[in-house]
Symmetry: D3
Subunit: 146 residues, 6 copies
């Protein structure tokens, strides 16, 4: 499988990209037929991170205004947050803070799949105590049918 | 931050690498001072995946035979599996199967940190029903002090 | 087994009832020896839903003022909320809101059981994004010995 | 809202129905445009219950052979099992056994919704110790976009 | 509050006792009006530990043969296991093994409480990898109304 | 094994001690080579309890100002809170409040272990409804390599 053969890897590569590399990868992913939205979020409130992902995806038209797409995106986002939180979804509630870059990618589940589009939400960032530098890396990926 | 500035990103890049790119990345990561172990696992039993990671890390000397390092690796592996399982650690027990590539990376938590080594366990693969092709991508990352 | 043979089914039927049917079912359940309390709640705070159930049960005398009965009701309520939340108890904390009708039913665990009363807490409603109409059905049932 | 206005209530009513009433309700639900599949399962293995639901839904053509529909049904089934298990998905693994009737209903999320079909999986039954009669009622509902 | 004023502390002290001290504490607890059962268990299967506690409590008459008491004890035992497992109830399923001493204590919730007896299940032991000496301490306590 | 042979038992004994006995036990534990910090906390906010433990451990020099030790203590504290919360980390969020005494103990994992120090965080207290006396005992223990 190639680097652009599935939306999850594409989303993860973009979320983890260093500097301007993220935009380059997003452009190449769009050339391969994926829709891509990226953004940053930092918060002690999980709901603000969920809202940041949803707002970006709607603003750039990756999903429409209906409930089906929102429902699909919401659960992909929660799944990504499970990887970030590793057992707990709370942030400030258990005295930790999170800063991350996210990417939402829409496209075929794997190359050649004709069943319709899927969504991948990837997040990569740093989680830790509310004290500068007291943090380590975290990552999350959620994939859902649209 | 550069591509090789922290063990989590290094481990994720290697776990997600396509074909021979993984070995190239591992070699470059070693040049940057990281110890790297990679492997593959596929199972409906979570314990077999945990064992595959631990066996590889011990065989290649990334961790020693003591309990401290094993305890650090075990919890980093469980954290990675939280991202893979997204709310449940069961595989066959809830009728799903998992195939993945993993990377274990040992090194400074971030560039310039002098507090001692950390471990990152990254996994990337496909989870799904026990039926060929009925699966989607998953990813997980666990980071722990050694 | 008949429609009024156990407190869980009775509570669920009342919580799901359409319009005035709920009061009819509650009256028939009381004829069969059950104590029944019903109410509505809508919130992004889980604790307000727990409080609404407890307040209704105490106000109508379904449980007394002691801690034993409160403890039994609390855990039956948490169990019902597990069905509503499906893996997470948070509402607003993960950007979702909940509106529901609940029923608390006290009586024999099954027809003919002479071991003493049990409590059933049933909830049925709509969960979704904080946006009108972006929601779907949820249900929960908790059963505990009193 | 009427008794047949949403797939979750329809599925719950059928799963909880006493005797032949379930078939009557299923027939009326089909008259209202819903596709309905029902069945029974009893096991100490969660995967057998998941498989029973999926097998019934495929055999009766409620979902097709593709992965999208299977993915939607799988997650609706897991959500229903969260209500049944209330915090744990294990059955025999924590020394308990489960017997249930289930209903899978496909149709509009609420009356008048034109966004496409949703799936509801409802379960109602008895959970308890592996000893005759040592059990109480449980219920679960999962709803997902198809 | 004194050392024998509540069943949870009594159960914990007995479960953690060194050598013959446990029997001395149990005898003194009985003098204070508590019923006490103790035992040991070691397993990679959670259900065997649940069964060991239940079997001991029934054999020594601490609970009767009915379902109410069994239900109360079961949930107190699960609560104790939450402290032992800290987020996961699996043992062998996530490649770890557990050896423990347990105590079940029946009596007033706190000194002077007249609402009826409660159950406390305490466990103390070692959890770790299936390799001699690769383990650390764990503890759990569950309290429920009888 | 003796009463002072491992940090978990030492921490639990001190957290459960009645009156002045806690200071006596702490002094004896220090004679056996353990570092010991104790304190009290009461809150409906989990983060305040985490902060109370961390603040006490840093103020008395049990851990240094670096991130490694803070990370080790944080996860030991979360593990202890799993035993206190038994399935949920929320307190006020699910309408309950917690008062506790805690002890943090640093030392060899078991007598004779030469691999370096471990941390044990023990908590013992009362959890319940926000109403005087409506509460029961809870306990938790977390153990981590430093």
């Amino acid at each position: 499988m190639g680097q652009f053969s599935s939306p999850g890897r594409v989303a993860l590569q973009i979320a983890m990209a260093v500097g301007a590399e993220g935009e380059t990868l997003a452009a190449r992913a769009r050339d391969h037929g994926f829709a891509v939205v990226t953004g940053k979020a930092g918060s002690m409130d999980v709901q603000k991170i969920i809202a940041a992902v949803e707002t970006a995806a709607k603003r750039e038209g990756l999903i429409d205004e209906g409930y089906r797409a929102e429902h699909a995106l919401y659960h992909a986002t929660l799944d990504a947050l499970q990887g970030m939180g590793r057992g707990h979804l709370e942030l400030g509630g258990i005295l930790r803070t999170l800063g991350l870059r996210f990417a939402v990618v829409k496209g075929a589940r794997i190359r050649g799949d004709a069943e319709g589009p899927w969504l991948a939400v990837a997040m990569y960032g740093m989680i830790g105590a509310p004290r500068r530098g007291h943090e380590h890396e975290v990552c999350g990926l959620g994939v859902n049918h649209l």
